[in-house]
C-alpha cells in the first residue's frame, strides 16, 4: 500500500466517522437493544424491570390476538401490494403514451405520494363518512365503511393503495421510457396485437423493476402503521389491527415495554427477511451481468 493510498483510507474513515457515530446511536444501538428488551418484563410506570427469558415469545405463540394480527398484516400486505402493482403498471402505460400535460399528470399523481400518511387517513375518513361521505353519495349507499368489521380492512387497503400506487407507477414509467420503440413496432409489424405485444414484449422487460417495486412495497406494507392507527385505530373489533398496531398498544397503551418490544421484533424479523431477499435478488443479477 502506497502512502497515498494509506492517507486516502484514513481520510475516508474520517469522512465516514460522523455518519457512523450518528447511526450507531440512533439505529444500531436501538436495533440491538430491542432484542434485549424483548426478553424482559419492563413496566416503567410501576418500576418493574426483570429478566423474562423467552416468555413473551412463548405467550405470543398461543395468543389469538397475535395470530389475528399476523393474519391481518398478511392480508393487508398481499392485497395492497398486488393492487398497487397492477394499477401502477396501468398508470405507467397511460403516462408513457402521454404527449401533452405530462407535468400536470405527474403532479396529480405524486400529490398522493408526497403528503403525510396522517393526511391521507384524514382524507379517507371524510370520504368514508356514513352520512356525508363522498363515497356513499357516489355509490348511492349507506355503508359504514370504518365501522363494519367486513369493510374496514378493505377501506384501509384502498387508502394505502391510493397513497403508494404513484411509487410503482413512477418506477414502471421510467423503465417503459427506456424500452426502444422499435421493439414494440417490430412486434406489431409481425402481427402481434396490443395485448400480445404487452404480454410478450413489454411485460418481460418490466419484470425486474416490478420485482424491485414489489419488494420495496412489501417492506413498507409490513411496517405500515400511520394509516390504520389514525384511520381505524385497529378497530372495529380488531379487524384492522396489524402487528405494528398491536406492538404499539403493548408498548404505549398497556405500557408493557418488554412485551411490546417482542411484537416489534417479530415485525423486525419479517422485514429483514424481505430486505435480505432484495439484496439476494440484486447480487444474483450482478453476478449474471
Amino acid at each position: 500500500m502506497t502512502p497515498r493510498e494509506r492517507a486516502d483510507r484514513r481520510r475516508g474513515l474520517l469522512l465516514l466517522a460522523p455518519t457512523l457515530a450518528i447511526l450507531g446511536v440512533v439505529t444500531v444501538y436501538p436495533g440491538a437493544w430491542v432484542l434485549w428488551l424483548s426478553l424482559q418484563h419492563r413496566i416503567p410506570v410501576f418500576g418493574v424491570e426483570r429478566f423474562a427469558g423467552v416468555s413473551h415469545y412463548a405467550f405470543l405463540a398461543g395468543d389469538p390476538r397475535f395470530w389475528s394480527a399476523v393474519w391481518t398484516t398478511a392480508v393487508f400486505t398481499a392485497s395492497s401490494v398486488t393492487l398497487e402493482l397492477v394499477l401502477g403498471v396501468l398508470v405507467a402505460l397511460a403516462l408513457a403514451g402521454q404527449r401533452r400535460g405530462r407535468h400536470l399528470a405527474f403532479s396529480l399523481l405524486l400529490l398522493a405520494w408526497a403528503m403525510p400518511a396522517v393526511v391521507t387517513a384524514k382524507l379517507f375518513e371524510w370520504l368514508y363518512h356514513p352520512a356525508a361521505g363522498l363515497l356513499n353519495f357516489l355509490l348511492g349507499a349507506r355503508l359504514n365503511w370504518l365501522g363494519d368489521p367486513g369493510l374496514a380492512l378493505p377501506a384501509v387497503v384502498l387508502a394505502d393503495v391510493w397513497r403508494t400506487l404513484p411509487f410503482v407507477a413512477v418506477l414502471a414509467y421510467a423503465r417503459l421510457l427506456a424500452i426502444p420503440a422499435e421493439l414494440v413496432e417490430a412486434a406489431q409489424v409481425d402481427g402481434a396485437g396490443r395485448a400480445a405485444t404487452f404480454r410478450h414484449v413489454t411485460l418481460p422487460l418490466l419484470r425486474r423493476i416490478l420485482a424491485i417495486a414489489a419488494l420495496f412495497r412489501t417492506l413498507d406494507a409490513l411496517r405500515a402503521f400511520d394509516i390504520m392507527f389514525v384511520l381505524t385505530g385497529g378497530g372495529p373489533a380488531g379487524t384492522t389491527e396489524t402487528l405494528t398496531v398491536y406492538a404499539y398498544r403493548g408498548l404505549f397503551q398497556m405500557l408493557q415495554l418488554g412485551f411490546g418490544s417482542a411484537v416489534g421484533v417479530v415485525v423486525f424479523a419479517l422485514v429483514m427477511t424481505v430486505a435480505w431477499a432484495y439484496v439476494r435478488l440484486l447480487s444474483a443479477e450482478e453476478s449474471r451481468a
Partner: protein, 272 residues
Amino acid sequence: MRRAGLARDALVLVALTAYAAPFFWQLLTSFKPEADLLRLPPLLPARLTLAHYRVVLEQSLMPQALGNSLGVAAATTLLALGAGLPAAYAIARLPVPGRRALLLALVASTAFPQIATVSPLYLLLRALRLRDTWTALVLAHTSFALPLTVWLLAGFIREIPRALEESAAVDGASRAQALRSVLLPLLAPGLASAGLLAFLSSWNEFLFAYTFTASEASRTVPVALALFPGVFEVPWGDIAAASMLASLPPLLIVVALQRALVRGLLAGAVKE
C-alpha cells in the same frame, strides 16, 4: 390521428384528476360553510368561506405545530446532508475498507421498522431528558433520513466522471479546491433531490413524533392533525383546513421541483 392523440391525453388527465379527487374533495370541504358540511347533495356549496382556516390558524395548536415541523424537518435535512455528504464521498471515491458491507448495512438500516426501534429510542431519549424537544425528533428522524441521503448522494457522485476532479488536480488545484469548484456544482441537483426527500420524510413522519412528544412545544403537524380536538362533534371543516396546511410543503415540492423529486425517488429504488 393528431386529434385522437389529443383526446387520449385529455382522457388520461381526466382520469388522474379523478384519482386525485380525495385531495380536491378535502380542499373543497375546507372552504365549505359549517351548515353545508354534513349535507350531500348538493356537491358544490352555494358559497365558500375562510372560517375553517381562521379557526385553525387562530384557535388551534396548528401554527405551533407548523413551526415545529418546519424546524425539525429543516434541522434533520441539514444534519443528514452535513454528515451524509462526506460519507457519500468516501464511499464513492475513497478506498474505504469494508465498503460493500457498509453499503449493505446502510440499506438494511433504511429497512429497520420504526415500531421495533421506537421502544429503545424512547428509553434513550427519556434517559437523556430529551423527551418533548426538537432535538429528540431530529435525532430520531435522522435515523432514516441519513442512510437515505448517503445512499442517494453516493449514487449521484458515482455518476460524475472521476476524470473531472483529476484534471482539475492536474491543473494545480488542491484536492479541496477541486471538490469545491468541480464536484459540488455538478452535485447540486443531487443534493437538492436528496435534501427534498430527507425533508419530506421528516415532515411526514408520525410514529416517532407521536411517541416522543407530549405538548405543543414539540408536536409536529401529523401529530397535531391526528389529535385534532373536537368538543362535541368532529370538526370536519377545521380538520380539512388543517390537512391542507399539512400538505402545503409536500404540494409545493411536487409541483415546483418535480424533476428533482422523481430523480431522487428513482435513484433510491434502482441504483446499485
